[in-house]
Amino acid sequence: MGKSFTICPYCGCGCGMYLELVAGHMGVAMPSQVQSMGAGRLCLRGWQAGSLIGSAARLMRPQIAREEASWEEAIQTASGGIKSVLDRGRHALGVLCGGHLTNEEAFACRLYAHDILRTPHLDSCARAVDAGSIWGLEHSLCTPYRSPPLAQITRSDVIVCLNSNIRWDAPQAAGYVVEAAGAGSKLVVIDEVVDEGLGDLAALYILHKPGFRGVLLHLLVEAVAGGRRLDAEEQSALQQAGVETEAFHQLSSLVQDAKRLAVVFSTTALQIPQEAAYLAELTILRQASGAEVAQVFAVRSDCNSIGVVDMGVAPVRNGEARGLGAFEMLSGNGGLQGLIVVAEAVEQFVGQQQLRRLREQLQFLLYIGSFDSATAELADVVLPMAGWGECEGSFTCHDGSIWPVCRVISPAGQRRPLAQILNDLSNAHNGSVLPTDTSTLRAQISRQVPSYRSVDWAGLSCTQPSATVPSRDNDIDVVNTVAPIREWPDIGVNGQRPYVLVVRRHEGSWAFDPRVRAAHILAREHTDQRSPFVIINPRTCQQLGTREGHSVMVSTAFGSQLLPVKCQAAVPQDVVVLPWQFRDVAHSLAGRPRVDDRTGSAYHQPVAAALELPG
């Protein structure tokens, strides 16, 4: 039989499928019914995954300055570029990986970055995108978070689904939500827009004002925790969120009465980590008060989001070396002189403009990948790497299970497997050797990644696949250093300004620090995606020499924008409230916050924002 079992290379649902080669050069993907999250279902991307194999966008030959070159030349040029960057210190170079790398490839990247280049700056875009949600979940659940198998969604009697667009972000999860709703589970959709799709299946559709989801979820936790009606302050917050009191009470009683509660969302959909924390909190509360089961199903962005982090593709955060995170590397503010991007079109995350700006700052950009992209276009050297279907490996799916990824065809054109490319680069660098074959890499993974010690690699064959689910404790290392609030830098008017979200734990439930909460609510009140603006304290406004309605240039590590000013006395002077366009700021708050012993408050590292008059 020409059908090899494998895992879909797109989203974090991790659908099992078969890949078959047709007429020598074409791939065809077919769902698996028995070994799959989806029990036979795939989304459009999955059904079309086979076409990656013949895609016209494949990189086939090495390039130097966009001109085709031989492998020898390209490796020499790449190695020369890397050396000249490293001459300025190992902190000058960063390595940024995609979330589609196999475990073996990701591990090879880690060896290359840590052992050969010795840079602390290693990260994956997938980690950065998921980090906010994952931090929120892990902080509440106090355990490295893994979603239960998606099929379990169908056993719930109440499903709380965040955003109908899980239909696009995590289609397989949405499929189960639809199935469950069809079979009688009560579906609650919480969304900023009306989406017909899940909408007409929903027993309750909570439409809130854009940006108010955090507030709404916070109130929900309060209501479910206390089993009570909202007080006056909360009532007015609810009103500001644009949610009817009646609908809110329906929502809280549905959650309160649920016997089997499922909370479903895609990790990329959340705006701030607190939202994930509240959702986890809901399940904890229900589990503690009589529900048979209450679970969070959070699907990650990329097919191997979990595995890539497991393999150690994350910034080094111990000792004196503080590695930069993905967005910090891309911001251009981390002082990097050189960047190696592995299999990720990073323009998706920062936009083409920012990418071009970054390119100007970098002395050297190396792109190793399977497909052409704006990132490849800007690179000094492009090394074409074997893609999905061209080399074997493994993925770690959303529930932590490890699955085989098959090879059905040899790498097209002059593409080479990533491990081999990295070995060639190491060789050229200082004569070192890195493992290139899958079995050596796997043996080394078992030795070095504690939770993969027991993985039965031999059992991970594409002809006889079976998942291994390793036990996992403390395998995620995403601890950030966090500056306590009193160490914030003193701020001048045109200097740095922090954006903060302060979270305080009290009486078993979560609340924003009241002053920030006020600012937050005010900000979201007026902030929609069409007419963003920045809210500052009237005094700051005066000091800046501007007025309400005039514009200021707001700059953060995640981009700058000219925005109209609104003044609100409720906003503290050391706070700048940024619009949704700066959501990356929120996403970047990935680390665990430090808890202040005295007050019980938890703080994030503030993100600096500078305000300047335009021109």
């Binding site: 059908k3 499929g175 799709g197 097209a412 079976s466």
Partner: protein, 349 residues
């Protein structure tokens, strides 16, 4: 159409029949399991790979005639270019397919082979393919509904040979001259089919037919779709739930749409490829100017149902576009597969 001939076959001789048939064609395609346990119609190498007690395969056996993807031709050289059509002269025997899939092949035959133009790729495969069907003696799959489409539990035509199990004997029906030649290869295993055997098969099939669900959704959907009596609201509801995966078309044994693309191989050869397509996908009708006559999911949902169930198409293609195999029920991400749609249409009436 009555069979050309009928025989009996002791049930325990089935394996020998299969074994004999393995030598009757270059490739025998039958129901076989992958190691993880999924059932596909794929090349059979030895008899013990064949599994006849299967819930319907997710992909239909029609992929042996109209594959998920195939080469139309390749072009080499440039001055002037030379076109090479793929050669496909291997014979093929489809073993163990169900009556609903036999009905689907009949509709595909009509669509691809009759009329002004014929599809050469399908024709080349079909002319060298023999069909040995196995009738259903019990409901094959929790999701199938041949009784609503009049395609089962046994095939009335369209097979070369058909085997129907009655207790410990198979009734063997010969449908075509090709089937007769196959039966000759088995003559030493076949006995006479007496009238009792034929009548008993008939009786049991009738029993099974009435036992299977008769919701009547299908005829009412056909009437209402043909009469354009389905409200916009229903199409919008269906379209709203559809997640546009295309799965319902890719697994449907009746669906025949394809798209065509050129791919350039590393050595410069250009391969023109066709691959199955779905009218549920937004890009299906989108033109280069950006204009899309079926831009809304509701319009695409209506199109899918119209093609399958409108009487105007039944007139054109001879049979309706759903044979009741139930595959779309398994793959649909949005829960708006054929039985759900006919139900929604009827509920509105």
């Amino acid at each position: 159409m009555p069979p050309l001939a009928t025989y009996s076959l002791p049930a325990d001789k089935l394996e020998e029949v299969a074994d004999r048939l393995l030598t009757c064609a270059d490739r025998v395609i039958g129901p076989v399991r992958t190691p993880p346990g999924d059932l596909f119609f794929d090349v059979v190498r030895s008899v013990n790979e064949i599994e006849l007690q299967y819930g319907n395969s997710l992909l239909p056996p029609t992929t042996a005639l109209f594959p998920m993807a195939e080469e139309i031709f390749s072009v080499v050289g440039g001055t002037p270019p030379v076109i090479r059509a793929p050669r496909s002269d291997a014979s093929c025997l489809l073993f163990g397919i169900r009556p609903c899939d036999v009905a689907a092949i009949q509709r595909l035959d009509h669509f691809f082979l009759d009329g002004e133009f014929k599809d050469d790729l399908y024709a080349a495969r079909r002319s060298r393919t023999a069909i040995v069907a196995v009738a259903c003696s019990q409901k094959a799959d929790a999701r199938c509904f041949c009784s609503c489409c009049d395609t089962g539990p046994f095939a009335k035509t369209g097979y070369d040979l058909q085997l129907s199990l009655v207790d410990d004997t198979y009734l063997v029906e010969v449908g075509t001259e090709q089937g007769r030649r196959l039966a000759q290869r088995l003559s030493d295993l076949l006995g006479v089919a007496d009238d009792d055997l034929i009548l008993e098969r008939e009786r049991r099939a009738q029993e099974l037919f009435t036992e299977l669900e008769q919701k009547g959704n299908m005829p009412s959907a056909i009437r209402r779709i043909t009469g354009e009596a389905v409200s916009q609201a229903v199409w919008e509801r269906i379209g709203g739930r559809c997640m546009g995966c295309g799965g319902c078309s890719f697994v449907c044994p009746v669906c025949s749409c394809f798209y065509v693309i050129d791919q350039t191989l590393p050595d410069g050869t250009v391969q023109r490829i066709r691959a199955q397509d779905s009218c549920r996908l937004a890009g299906y009708t989108r033109e280069a100017s950006g204009h899309n006559p079926r831009a809304l999911p509701s319009q695409r949902a209506a199109r899918y149902s119209y093609h399958k169930l409108s009487y105007r198409y039944i007139e054109r293609e001879g049979t309706q576009g759903c044979v009741g195999c139930g595959r779309c029920v398994t793959v649909c991400l949005g829960g708006v597969h054929m039985p759900a749609v006919t139900e929604m249409i009827r509920r509105e009436a």
